[in-house]
């Protein structure tokens, strides 16, 4: 489940929102992310929406990439990978219940990871399969392998892979540190801050530019990347590989 030699990125984006920690890194943003209507209080859904939009471009332009026989939306799927998901929404909900407060219905809707993907799907007319996965071991590799499997099934021609993690809150930090027997590094580490990576992937057929094999994904990266991107480093490498190959 962990080969990726048949994947090629058609578009890519990295978002490492504002702040000192993001300076000099791929995707560092100078301004706050735009809000997504109906989603409140958490940066998770705006991150997902923004990185998806960066990959897919304007909805009209995206639609124009299809054909009558293979409409762009119908032939595109989505896989979202995250270790902890929207911890802000989840833990805010939990603490409101503990406090006996009336629950906010908006938190109910956005606590479900598929909701923001439903928004993305509506904007771009994406009717292919949508999956959301979490894992504690080599999640980036597993997400790429899943993308490869979905593309290999023939159900879609392109797949938007979104890797996303918000800055760990107290629970996420405790769970992650406990599971790792200390601050984790390497392929399972949590990023220090908010990160989202989008890769619009297709099956490699030859001659289309970089292909995401192990030599590409495993190449040495600047030391600051490990702390900034954690488990998402291979996805950032893939995105930067695409950016480096772009004219």
């Amino acid at each position: 489940m962990t080969t990726t030699a048949s994947l090629a990125p058609a578009a890519a984006a990295v978002l490492t929102p504002w702040g000192e920690a993001a300076e000099g890194l791929p995707g560092a943003a100078g301004v706050n992310l735009p809000k997504v209507r109906g989603f409140v209080g958490s940066r998770f859904s705006p991150l997902v929406h923004a990185v998806a939009a960066s990959c897919l471009g304007a909805p009209d332009a995206f639609a124009a990439t299809g054909s009558p026989d293979a409409p762009a939306g119908e032939r595109t799927g989505i896989v979202l990978a995250t270790q902890f998901g929207d911890t802000t929404t989840t833990d805010t909900s939990t603490q409101r219940v503990m406090d006996g407060q009336v629950h906010n219905p908006l938190l109910f809707f956005q606590s479900v990871t598929t909701s923001v993907l439903g928004h993305v799907a509506k904007v771009y007319g994406i009717t292919g399969p949508v999956s959301c996965v979490s894992g504690t071991t080599a999640l980036a590799s597993e997400a790429l392998a899943m993308a490869e499997a979905v593309l290999g099934s023939g159900d879609v021609d392109r797949l938007l892979l979104v890797g996303v993690e918000c800055a760990p809150n107290e629970r996420a930090d405790w769970v992650h540190t406990t599971l790792s027997s200390g601050p984790a590094s390497g392929p399972d580490a949590l990023p220090a801050g908010d990160v989202a990576v989008g890769l619009l992937l297709r099956r490699a057929t030859g001659g289309e530019g970089p292909v995401l094999g192990r030599p590409v994904l495993g190449r040495p990266v600047p030391g600051a990347w490990a702390e900034a991107f954690g488990w998402l480093v291979p996805l950032v490498v893939a995105a930067e590989t695409h950016a480096g190959a772009a004219p």
């Binding site: 799927g77 938190l107 479900v112 439903g118 799907a121």
Partner: protein, 413 residues
């Protein structure tokens, strides 16, 4: 080379208790598992019922549950996985573990309770608030060395896990996969659904009924062992049935509401049928998502009309959520097992709570009482927020499948 996908084992848990016997004595016998919630005070909420397991009915091996206690997802999944692997007669050491779960909410709450009380969060179970930890723990405890993934896409999560497992086996990327899902009734999730006015205040869910007023939650967990049919046959395993087709599709319509004509659900079903190589007329039973919500049931009916055309009036349909409640991330796994039992037993489970059929949901419903029918292929459907839809086509075991009947399988009641 494409590989057929066999089901060789399962373990299942609902509000009726553990195992197939609990389902046969509950769902197939026309009983409902709803009762007043015992795990938390429902005074702040509109709804007061859920399909909790309180210790009545077949117990969970190794897990003690009584009124007021919430079984842990990992513990129940482990019991299900052990039962499934024992039934399959394999240790599946290289199997991927794919589990539909959004994390164990009761453990996340325990973390914050510990923090507020100034205690170190000492409970190992608090780790299970991370969804990805749950398949990891199952794999570690059972010695399964394959990749581990949690599927967190809400009410299609377990269906997606099964579909991905089938995809991996079909393509040859894996030979055996352990897959399923789990969700328990917890105050956190109950509060969220209650705030969204998704829960009924009644003690019953009424799928497809004119007076339906919402869903109720239920405990649920299921683990299936899927493997290459050729491999299963070669080792003399009993093939219980097949995952003949699977499909997923999105509505591209709304953040939470289903497409009014069930476009994505129909597309998912058509993909699953196409993959199975079947005309819709070959389907002899549909286990519907059927949550009992006003919009969802109409959308699903429209989807079935789109898929089956004029034949729709001759396809028996039931929603077993009138019996088990909605088991969220587990629901597709439990319903796959229910559908498999229907194929094995030649008995189609009923829809409970149907007082007056909604003309907008006119189908060949199976109200109140199970219907005997010999069925070869069945369709199981699920849908989630964000307009995400999933479908499975299950095939009854073939007479030529052979394999020794597994005496560890539970007897039919």
């Amino acid at each position: 080379m494409a590989h057929e996908v066999a089901i060789t084992g399962y373990g299942v848990f609902t509000g009726f208790g553990f195992g197939a016997r609990a389902l046969r004595e509950g769902v197939f016998a026309g009983r409902s598992a709803f009762r007043p919630v015992t795990r938390f005070d429902t005074a702040p909420f509109h709804a007061t019922y859920a399909a909790e397991y309180t210790g009545e009915g077949p117990g969970i091996p190794g897990v003690s549950v009584g009124p007021g206690s919430t079984p842990g997802q990992s513990e129940v999944l482990l019991a299900c996985a052990r039962a499934a692997l024992e039934m399959a007669g394999t240790d599946a050491v290289d199997a991927p573990v794919l589990i539909g779960t959004n994390g164990d909410h009761s453990t996340g709450r325990r973390f914050w309770e510990d923090r507020r009380a100034g205690r170190a969060p000492g409970a190992v179970r608090s780790l299970d608030s991370l969804a990805g930890r749950i398949p990891q723990r199952i794999a570690e405890d059972l010695g399964l060395r394959g990749p581990r993934l949690a599927f967190v896409n809400a009410c299609v999560a377990a269906t997606n896990a099964i579909a991905h497992a089938a995809r991996l086996i079909h393509s040859g990327a894996a030979t055996t996969v352990v897959c399923g899902g789990a969700s328990m009734v917890t105050e956190d999730v109950f509060a969220r659904f209650d705030s969204g006015k998704a829960l009924t205040q009644e003690a019953a869910v009424r799928p497809f009924s004119a007076d339906r007023s919402g869903l109720l939650q239920g405990d649920g967990a299921a683990v299936l062992v899927l493997e290459s049919a050729a491999l299963a046959a070669a080792r003399g395993a009993r093939i219980l049935g097949r995952v003949a087709g699977w499909g997923m599709a999105s509505d591209a319509h709304h953040v939470v509401q289903p497409h009014p004509q069930g476009a994505g659900l129909a597309a998912a079903a058509r993909i699953a049928l196409r993959r199975a190589g079947l005309a819709p007329e070959r389907i002899g039973y549909v286990n519907a998502h059927g949550t009992g919500t006003p919009l969802g049931d109409v959308a699903e009916t429209s989807a079935l009309r789109t898929v089956f055309g004029e034949h729709v009036s001759r396809v028996p349909v039931s929603s077993t959520k009138g019996s088990t409640g909605h088991m969220l991330e587990a629901t597709g796994g439990v319903e796959a097992v229910i559908t498999l039992l229907a194929l094995q037993d030649g008995l189609l489970p009923p829809t409970l709570g149907m007082r007056e059929p909604d003309p907008a949901c006119a189908l060949d419903h199976i109200p109140d009482t199970a219907r005997p029918a010999s069925v070869t292929y069945a369709l199981s459907l699920n849908a989630a927020f964000g307009g995400v839809n999933a479908a499975l086509v299950l095939e009854r075991a073939r007479p030529t499948d052979g394999g020794e009947p597994n005496d560890r399988e539970e007897p039919t009641v």
